[in-house]
């Protein structure tokens, strides 16, 4: 009898303890009039919306100078570290030397045979050989990285953007193995010493998470075009692929375009006008 009542006491006490611990959270969730229950979360009024965001790059308009401006604009705005940047020894004492193979990049230049390795051709037209091709995340319709991610830290937004949740990423790098375009970079180290001038409107990343192009989701939310589009002098267009009336669709209609590694079925959303 004694034993039994002690056991039931412990049970009740245990449940009570759980209740005590959970109370603040439950109160928060359930708090009525001035709590969060009545709060409304919404998009900005001037948000740009698409059913599926896509990008068209006109390779005829891409010059070395344009490439440089685009890469600089994107990397500067998103606090992408530059391993060639000389570290400020006062602010970051004892920073170890870099391994350039561990660099981070969101958008960068490649030659044709690397951007399109499956279209490599002995007799390719001269002009394509030295032409700079911009490559970045393709925001694939069937993104292998989204499938691979074990925590949904990489996910597909309803507007087609493949996005990273840096808060949730565990740094397993499975997405990097899954991406057929080498679009992803891992933060092998704290990037801050290598950011020349931090843009306070965008977070830097912490060591141990993967990152990539976010199609300037933070700018689309404010009704602005992505940085690369602005810096491209008309060479890059971003718009709704699902909307037949959109500018990008008009471009696709009028020009012969190619995509990277189409045969893999990932359905990239970045098109190149040839």
């Amino acid at each position: 009898m004694m034993k039994k009542s002690r056991r039931s006491f412990l049970k009740v006490a245990g449940i009570a303890a759980i209740g005590l611990g959970a109370a603040p959270a439950m109160n928060f969730a359930a708090s009525g009039s001035n709590g969060t229950a009545l709060a409304v979360k919404s998009k900005n009024e001037n948000v740009l919306f698409a059913h599926r965001w896509g990008m068209v790059i006109d390779t005829n308009k891409i010059t070395d100078e344009v490439v440089e401006n685009i890469v600089a604009a994107c990397h500067k705005a998103h606090n992408v570290p530059d391993f060639n940047h000389k570290v400020d020894e006062e602010k970051f004492p004892g920073t170890r030397p870099v391994n350039h193979k561990q660099e981070v990049k969101w958008i960068w230049e490649e030659h044709f045979q690397y951007a399109f390795p499956d279209k490599e051709d002995e007799f390719l037209a001269e002009k394509f050989h030295d032409l700079p091709f911009l490559v970045t995340c393709n925001h694939c319709k069937n993104a292998p990285c989204v499938k691979a991610c074990p925590t949904q830290a990489t996910f597909k937004r309803e507007d087609g953007i493949v996005l990273m949740d840096f808060h949730r990423c565990i740094g397993c790098r499975f997405c990097m193995a899954a991406c057929p375009y080498g679009a992803r970079s891992f933060n092998f180290r704290d990037p801050r010493p290598f950011v020349e001038e931090i843009n306070p409107d965008f977070p830097t990343r912490s060591k141990g998470v993967v990152e990539k192009c976010n199609l300037c989701a933070e700018r689309l939310a404010k009704g602005e075009q992505p940085h690369c589009v602005e810096a491209s002098e008309g060479a890059i267009l971003v718009g709704d692929l699902e909307d037949p009336e959109s500018e990008v669709r008009a471009l696709l209609n009028e020009n012969y375009t190619i995509r990277r590694k189409q045969s893999l079925g990932t359905e990239p959303s970045v098109y190149y006008v040839m």
């Binding site: 170890r96 391994n99 193979k101 561990q102 660099e103 981070v104 990049k105 490649e110 045979q113 690397y114 951007a115 390795p117 499956d118 490599e120 490559v135 292998p144 499938k147 691979a148 991610c149 074990p150 925590t151 949904q152 830290a153 949730r168 990423c169 565990i170 740094g171 397993c172 790098r173 499975f174 990097m176 193995a177 899954a178 991406c179 057929p180 375009y181 080498g182 970079s185 891992f186 933060n187 092998f188 180290r189 704290d190 912490s206 060591k207 141990g208 998470v209 993967v210 590694k261 893999l264 079925g265 990932t266």
Partner: protein, 385 residues
Amino acid sequence: MLEIAIKGSKNYWLWIVFLLAVMGAGAVVYIDQFMNGLMITNMSRDVSFGFYIANFTFLVGVAAGGVMVVIPYYLHDYEKFHRITILGEFLAVASLVMCLLFVLVDVGQPTRLLNVWLYPSVKSVLFWDTLVLNGYLGLNIIIGWKVLEAERNQVEPPLWTKPLIYISIPFAIGIHTVTAYLYCGLPGRGYWLTAILAPRFLASAFAAGPAFLIILCYIIKKFTKFDPGWEAIQTLSKIVCWAIIANLFFFLCEVFVVYYSNIPGHLAHMQYLLFGYHGYHALVPWMWTGIILMITGAVFLVIPQLRDNKTMLPFTCAMIFIGAWIDKGLGMISGGFVPSPLHHVTEYAPSGKEIIITLAVYATGFLILTILFKLATQVKEEVRG
């Protein structure tokens, strides 16, 4: 039963202290990695999995290899394996602990590891891999412990262990299949994109696991009074023999398909591993060493006189074990990343710090293995009195 582990000879304690020292060295280096990130490794943007994941993959195989003693003993009542079944199960436990440790040291944000279960993603193979690996680990701990305890008390093991044992068999196949699926489902990696990857993984696992078990049997016989039995070892060596031949055959199929079809995306990796690619050939000598070790080992095991030679057998097994490690550890993972999806070549070799952490994980596994094997052998000695 654990009290058995704290009574041992001077050599036993020396070995334990040695393992603890290696673990300590690894822990110190790991603190560096924890504070400063994976920059201390030689992994890169192009080769984003390295030595940790390579050894993880290999050890999943060793763990799965334990099933090669479980199946004959429990499904076919093969009595000769009575004495070594527990060794196979405990080897799986130690291997799996190493696997999980390798995952732990490989992730960039280890403190967030539980996100895998907080936000379960059914489409992610990695999510399923964590489930089967932990499941198989749990099964083997419970089964091994209960069966050994029963043997010590000279009673039948509890009835409920039986279904667990049967479940553990598909789990063993499962851990290595799912681990292969991690790689072979990725569209952009020609070297891994092959349906034979899982069978090949299993074949090499069923060679490497039992080969290592044979070596362990020799060590046990030398250092304890427990004799695993020559006949059991002979049967094991036949299992190793056919498994390694299957592994070589699968590899040959792979080589044929890649070279005869001549598709560049698949060819480039094999070319890099076997002959070098655009002047890069860091892994070529390793790969050929591995292949020669495996072939020679297979030949030595096929010929009955050589297989039954008691002095030679452990060396043959070591050849096969090392050959499989090179094939699956060094070649399989790096080979998949070189060349990169853009056909750039970034080569990879582990850094010193990576190697120290890796050795420490192995030391942890060997510590667990030593303790578990000491329990098993001592109990079996006691029982036979």
